[in-house]
Amino acid sequence: MAHQNPSERSVQELYRDDPERADALVWGRRGALQGAALAAMGAALGGSIPFARNMPSGLVPAALAQGANQPQFLQMEGKAPLILQGERPLNAETPEHLLDDPVTPADKFFIRNNGSVPDTVADARAWKIRIDGEVNTPLELTIAELEQRFEIVTRKLQMECGGNGRSGFSPQAAGNQWGNGAISNAEWTGVRLRDVLRAAGVKDGAKFTGQHGADSHLSAQGPAISRGMRIEKAMDEDTLICFRMNGAAIPQMHGAPARLIVPGWPGSLSQKWFTRLEVLNKPHTGRGMGGTSYRIPVRPIVPGSRNNGADFVDMESMPVRSVLSSHAHGTRLPAGTRSLDIRGHAWAGDLSVRDVHVSTDFGQSWQAMQVAAPPNRHAWQRWQGRIALPSDGYYEIWYRATDSNGRMQPHVAANWNPQGYGANPISRVAILIG
């Protein structure tokens, strides 16, 4: 797909502009590609389609589904060429094939901002964090004091944007059109939030938190974002106030000098440039709370319909998801390649991943991959295995994870909501042999 030829454009345009006609032209009565149409689609993709007879009617091949608008890439010192979602606010997604490291390095860490990136501070160790609200003893501690007073822990923790996978929704939902790449699994060092909360003494009846950071809204009026969670998650052993990432200072882009890490829940709770946490006896009302923000329907709504989110609930543990990191979407392999060792990562919010299955025949048959145990709770898990490729031609590798409760990634994004949270459909990577 490196260059565009006339037939490629025509198939793409056909699907974009008139899908009904495209279906009629491309798909036959028995759901199989017909003569000239099959040849045309094969030419568009640059090869034949060995499992064409299994392609469901109306399914646009993954290699075409990217559309005519090619992604733009971030160019920034110290950062890999991430997929640029927008400059103001600055948001960039990690392509799945750059998520191969077991521990996500700083340069491959996705960028999510709601507001402006603050200036750096001269003395990181003097940075102050306040704990107040429904506590017996409000605290204001510098990073140096936190390090002295509380046990320091280091954990590998997966943390993803609440909107990860949003581009799977149809019709389109509002927000960054993330694929699966708004995910990270860095090694974080800090102190447990619960140890600090216990030192402050949480009052009976306190049930929620409200987080605050130093970044300002793009309008320059007020904070960029301020979210909160149930106190139970704040007391989880893996919810940390962090001051190091991968053994070094936290990069400015990712919340230096202190960041709250709330693994497995929407990344917006992992407050960057963290300054303050309020303990509350009712849900927080900061920017990013209420309505349709980080909230999902309890009773499914009609996709594309209007809704104020009053009946929605806050999104908590993120749904099961997987990436394939060994081969980029659009990888071309030598003719005669008959097997391929593939691998990736899978994770499931507060849960773990039980299985990963792969299909190379559009979902007709599925093959179990090996799934490693996580190095610690809330870390993502490595999956790997070998697939067979019976001939040269165009293939899609479909990969699907199942969480420890037995829930698997669905074929299409479920539970549509206006701001697009919780889309975790099965992903597809296109490869070409020969």
Partner: protein, 125 residues
């Protein structure tokens, strides 16, 4: 046992050295992010049509046009987003003819890509 305090000092020194190496890069990244945010856009980056100047002028006060260009919403969804930005993000509420100009432009040029192979959701018609 007597070595332990020294080991701790060495670890602390190493940690300080790691922290001390990064401020330059951190500062350069912060500046690069600011430069990206401040990069001037031309109005012509948006589709040509009536209302483009109004949309460009009003919307880019807060965010750049990437948020518009990546979007594909019905008129009703665009209209809903105007209320959402006013309620949640401090935008001056849009009303009357000016609102129509903005929403009409967005719906006309950044509407849904497709209604789907079966003509859209039957429950929305």
């Amino acid at each position: 046992m007597r070595l332990l305090p020294y080991a701790a000092v060495v670890v602390l020194l190493c940690a300080s050295a790691t922290i001390a190496q990064t401020p330059d890069l951190a500062q350069r990244q912060a500046e690069a992010a600011a430069a990206l945010a401040e990069r001037q856009e031309e109005e012509t980056v948006l589709a040509e049509g009536e209302g483009r100047s109004e949309v460009f002028g009003y919307c880019t006060a807060c965010h750049n046009t990437a948020l518009i260009r990546r979007s594909a919403f019905t008129r009703e969804r665009w209209d809903e987003l105007m209320d959402w930005m006013a309620e949640k993000h401090g935008m001056n509420p849009l009303e009357g003819e000016f609102r129509d100009t903005i929403v009409d432009y967005l719906a006309r040029h950044y509407g849904p890509l497709t209604r789907g192979p079966r003509g859209g959701n039957p429950f929305l018609n």
